[in-house]
């Protein structure tokens, strides 16, 4: 494999030809959604121009080609996550839908009054709200692992939760979207399995950025979004351990997910199609497959290493801006390619607005993690997040932009 070359990578992304407000684009919001390489765009255009038809239905040539491409994407995802069978890979709209699938289907069939669902204070709302709803509907209790001042989970709280017993499920994020905190998922997997419960991992922020092996991670379920790993929006996936999926009732019902339907009863299709009711996001799934092939060609290890370098550089440079407070883990090794910060005297929205005037795209707000914001005592943060195409020069422009913010606010 050739050595990682960020400039060669950038040439694969048409959007970087774009200027905003007369400046070249410095896209520092990949934790929200990633930009798309030509290979992904082409895969979808090619499908629509040459092979598009519905999947698993048509006996004609186009239907067969679409089906083959769609199912090839499933094999790509299987290999990407280290799953043992494509039957364990369910296509969903995104990680949110994948997590909801687990909460509705596994949760309602397996949890009841007195059972305990464990989650953490670090979660994105998408891995929090479904469990709140599930707890309310089943009578289960929701308990939390809290975070310390640096946004790391206080694992010592596990003992107290274990002592109270009845833990049936632990839902945890692999990497925090708002702080970048990397969570020791393997440790949590061993703990929850020791309690007789299952582990649900929100991998939306980890799968795009480093190699994943669901077996090594100890995940019973693993959710991810395609659009964060350079695929189109509208496709994502869920890995589920086969025996769990086999025993689960369907999530959505309708066409595709059935074996035979009579007016009053129906038998379900086999895995994974039991969980894919209706016409799926065909082109998006195929585009997601192309994205994973693209990332795999470059190498997830190389991508991770590149981002780690950018993150260290960003932390160093932010240190020189007066009034900047970086949130999250102090040790860069415990952090993915996400840097969340506040600038004293200026609200994050104003920071982001002024940065946009020099085409530096960052996210401002609570990042769908209001409990994290509350715990750290900030209403919102400015977040810069990185990917395989991020340049050190873009960090320089971020820092120059922050000086501009301070000048604008006469600080």
């Amino acid at each position: 494999m050739s050595p990682f070359d960020v400039h060669a990578v950038r040439a694969d992304f048409p959007i970087f030809a774009r200027q905003v407000n007369g400046y070249p684009l410095a896209y520092l919001d990949s934790a929200s959604t990633a930009q798309k390489p030509r290979a992904v765009i082409d895969s979808m255009v090619q499908l629509y121009e040459t092979s598009y038809a519905n999947v698993h239905r048509g006996v004609y040539t186009l239907g067969q080609e679409s089906t083959a491409l769609y199912e090839a994407a499933r094999e790509t995802v299987r290999a990407f996550l280290g799953a043992s069978s494509t039957r364990e890979i369910i296509f969903t709209r995104d990680a949110t839908e994948a997590l909801n699938l687990v909460a509705y289907s596994y949760g309602r069939a397996n949890l009841g009054p007195g059972d305990v669902i464990v989650s953490t204070e670090l979660e994105h709302h998408s891995n929090l709200v479904p469990w709140q709803v599930l707890a309310r509907e089943t009578g289960a209790t929701l308990r939390f692992i809290h975070i310390d001042d640096h946004g790391s989970l206080m694992l010592e709280e596990l003992d107290e939760i274990a002592a109270a017993g009845n833990v049936k499920l632990l839902a945890v994020v692999d990497q925090s979207n708002s702080l970048g905190t990397r969570v020791p998922v393997r440790t949590l997997a061993d703990w929850v399995h020791g309690q007789g419960g299952v582990l649900v991992v929100d991998g939306a922020q980890s799968a795009p950025h480093r190699p994943i092996d669901v077996g090594a991670l100890g995940a019973d379920f693993f959710a991810f979004s395609g659009h964060k790993l350079c695929g189109p929006s509208g496709a994502g996936g869920l890995y589920g351990r086969r025996e769990l999926l086999e025993a689960m009732p369907p999530f959505l019902t309708g066409g595709e997910m059935i074996r035979s339907v009579r007016l009053e009863r129906t038998s379900w299709n086999e895995l994974p199609w039991k969980f894919e009711a209706g016409t799926p996001a065909i082109a998006e799934v195929i585009g997601m497959g192309a994205a994973i092939e693209y990332l795999t060609r470059i190498g997830l290890d190389a991508i991770h290493e590149h981002e780690a370098g950018i993150t260290r550089y960003c932390l160093e440079r932010l240190d020189e801006v007066p009034g900047v407070r970086v949130l999250g883990p102090e040790d860069p090794a415990e952090r993915g390619g996400v840097v969340s910060f506040t600038l004293e005297g200026v609200h994050p929205h104003d920071v982001a607005e002024i940065l946009d005037s020099v085409a530096v795209c960052v996210r401002a707000g609570h990042h769908c993690t209001q409990p994290v914001m509350e715990r750290l005592g900030v209403p919102a943060t400015t977040r810069a997040s990185f990917y395989l195409y991020t340049l050190p020069e873009e960090i320089d422009r971020l820092v120059e932009g922050l000086h501009r913010v301070r000048r604008t606010f006469r600080l």
Binding site: H347, H349, D350, G365, P379, R410
Partner: protein, 139 residues
């Protein structure tokens, strides 16, 4: 961008008028912008159908804080029913800067919250277009 952070905006942001909690208000309301988590409280004293005193506090961006500060100056001493009838354009004109759709929400947070307080005081429903402003839930 330079249009946005004009002197009067920064002045009201850094030195907000009528800022802070009020003892024993006649009516209060809270507003929030769920997109960014910004929060705002407005307290009022009403005498003889006019706004005798208004104070606000909360946290938010320069636009939402400055617009609310200007709003308090704008409505102080004016009849309640007149203020309750203020429209979006009135505050937009007062703020006097070009606003994108996202920032328009920031600029209108104060007026929306004030409307909740006034209609609460008058016992009248929120007008169409402002519905939902009173459905906030925070401490």
């Amino acid at each position: 961008m330079d249009d946005l952070y004009r002197d009067h905006i920064l002045d009201h942001y850094k030195d907000p008028r009528n800022y802070g909690p009020m003892d024993d208000p006649d009516v209060s309301a809270e507003g929030q912008n769920p997109l960014c988590g910004d929060q705002l409280s407005i307290d009022l004293k009403v005498h003889d159908g006019t706004i005798a005193d208004i104070r606000f506090h909360g946290r938010g961006c320069a636009i939402s804080q400055a617009a609310t500060s200007m709003l308090t100056e704008m409505v102080m001493g004016r009849p309640v029913d007149e203020v309750a009838a203020l429209g979006r354009e009135d505050i937009v004109e007062e703020v006097g800067i070009p606003l994108s759709p996202v920032r328009l929400k920031c600029a209108l947070l104060g007026l929306g919250t004030l409307k909740v307080a006034l209609h609460r005081h008058l016992g009248t429903p929120l007008p169409e277009g402002w519905a939902g402003m009173d459905e906030v839930d925070w401490r």
